[in-house]
């Protein structure tokens, strides 16, 4: 599959033989963020950069941001709230998704 296109841009002619995915790791181009009904909100002043949220994230979408605070990439974040529950210092709260 051509990773340059989003799934919404694919036509039937773009389908690989038998829908084979010939590019390893191309699932990273699949936006799961729009499945979300809740979104994480951060109070980074309380973040101790322990990375527990990243360890628990079932999507693997949490990593250090420019300030080395751990933050979810909203392209993939499904808003499950596990990070908010596991964070030992209460950095993360879940708010309703308004997108």
């Amino acid at each position: 599959m051509n990773a340059r296109k989003t799934e919404a841009e694919y036509t039937w002619k773009d389908m690989e033989i038998g829908c084979i995915v010939a590019e390893p790791g191309s699932s990273q181009y699949y936006r799961t963020g729009d499945w979300r009904s809740q979104v994480p909100r951060y109070t980074f002043s309380r973040c101790i950069k322990c990375g527990v949220c990243a360890l628990y994230c079932p999507e693997g979408c949490i990593g250090p941001n420019a300030d080395s605070h751990f933050e979810a990439d909203l392209f993939w974040c499904k808003g499950c709230g596990i990070c908010a529950r596991e964070c030992p210092t209460g950095v993360i709260g879940m708010a309703d998704e308004e997108e």
């Binding site: 919404a8 694919y10 389908m15 690989e16 033989i17 038998g18 829908c19 084979i20 995915v21 390893p24």
Partner: protein, 391 residues
């Protein structure tokens, strides 16, 4: 010229798979397909066929193993019948959607219940929409020839689809017929070696059979539909090449004594042989009757049907399967639908007969022609009948 030998049709089908140099056979024996896979197991055990024979525990596993084999680029053959075809049903859709050209002969059989192992096309009709190319054979020579053709068609880079070669259980599988077996080098020349364009390979990882969310699924199905329809010219090309190589020409719909015929019978499979004898008798008696024999079931030959039906006034479709509570036999229903938009379409009537191994004789085909002329055109209820049922 190849050698003409008296051979059981099941063994001829196995011989075709052998001469195609099949790499993998994964199959589960079931009446009336048993002799085909029994023979293939024997050929592999004797070292006459250099293939992997996978003795699986069910037909579901047989088809699953075949998919894996084709995905590595192996030429793969299997066979089944009736209940076995039903047990592999869900995997049939996977084979076509994943574009894995498994070649399979189906010894058509009735579906339980009551338990019945005999010839019937209920199994064939139940897998109509699985996305496979489907060829229906009338005799043993066609079965041998079309197994060879099936490999060439299915494995063609423009096609890459699984192919079913249907043969009526017992009526074909268990009879000995004179069958011309060509020389091996001519078969090798006709049938190029198989290479799957995106095979399973540890050095080039791929994802096969991934999921597709609603935003992609319709595009995947459209691609599949276009692909199956586009297989038709390749099938015609293959049959033309086959005729050049071996002298026998196959068509999507065969015509028998249809010149100027006002009444046409249409049959699928081995019924064609009996119906030809009935047409001869009716023609001798001065009746304007001809016969159409449908060989290519999927992709459906719409243009050929319209051409061959021509100016006939009455078309009688004989099904060996029933669509319960529906419009009649499945072939009847499809053929009527295919001709619906024609300005000069004939009156189309259907008979369902020969279920579960019941013979339909020459006299009964004559009887159907007579009965069809008596049937009044008064709504769907009157447009098909089960023939030969005791009241």
């Amino acid at each position: 010229m190849g050698k003409k030998v008296g051979m059981e049709v099941s063994l001829a089908i196995a011989e075709a798979a052998k001469m195609a140099n099949t790499d993998v056979v994964a199959a589960y024996p079931i009446t009336p397909q048993t002799h085909i896979v029994e023979r293939l197991a024997e050929l592999v055990a004797n070292g006459e066929l250099d293939a992997e024979y996978i003795p699986v525990e069910s037909e579901h596993s047989a088809m699953s193993a075949c998919l894996g084999a084709v995905a590595t680029g192996a030429r793969t053959f299997t066979a089944t019948a009736g209940q076995g075809l039903e047990l592999m049903h869900e995997v049939l859709y996977v084979a076509s959607a994943m574009r894995l050209p498994v070649i399979m002969s189906v010894a058509n059989r009735a579906l339980s219940s009551p338990l019945n192992v005999w010839g019937d096309q209920s199994d064939l009709m139940a897998v109509r929409d699985t996305g496979w190319i489907q060829i229906i054979c009338e005799n043993g020579q066609e079965a041998y020839d079309n197994v060879l053709c099936a490999f060439r068609i299915g494995e063609d880079k423009r096609v890459l689809l699984p192919v079913m070669v249907h043969v009526d259980g017992f009526y074909l599988t268990h009879v000995v017929e004179p069958i011309e077996i060509p020389e091996q080098d001519k078969v090798n020349h006709f049938l190029p070696s198989f290479s799957y364009p995106l095979p399973l390979d540890p050095d080039k990882p791929l994802t096969m059979g991934a999921f597709a969310p609603p935003i992609l699924f319709s595009e995947a199905k459209k691609a599949q539909e276009v692909n199956l329809r586009a297989a038709k010219p390749v099938i015609l090309e293959c049959w033309a090449e086959f005729a050049k190589a071996f002298g026998r020409q196959y068509k999507p719909i065969e015509q028998y004594r249809t010149e100027g015929a006002k009444i046409l019978l249409l049959t699928l499979g081995s019924f064609g042989e009996t119906a030809m004898a009935a047409v001869d008798k009716l023609r001798d008696a001065g009746q304007s009757v001809g016969l159409l024999k449908l060989r290519l079931w999927r992709p459906f030959p719409f243009e050929e049907l319209r051409q061959t039906v021509g100016r006939a006034e009455l078309l009688i479709v004989i099904d060996r399967a029933l669509s319960f509570g529906g419009p009649g036999g499945p072939a009847f229903s499809e053929i009527r639908s295919a001709l619906y938009s024609e300005k000069n379409r004939p009156r189309i009537l259907g008979f369902v007969g020969g279920l579960g191994g019941r013979d339909l004789t020459v006299a009964e085909f004559e009887g159907m022609v007579k009965r069809a002329q008596e049937m009044k055109p008064s709504g769907a209820e009157q447009e098909f009948e089960m023939y030969g049922v005791r009241e």
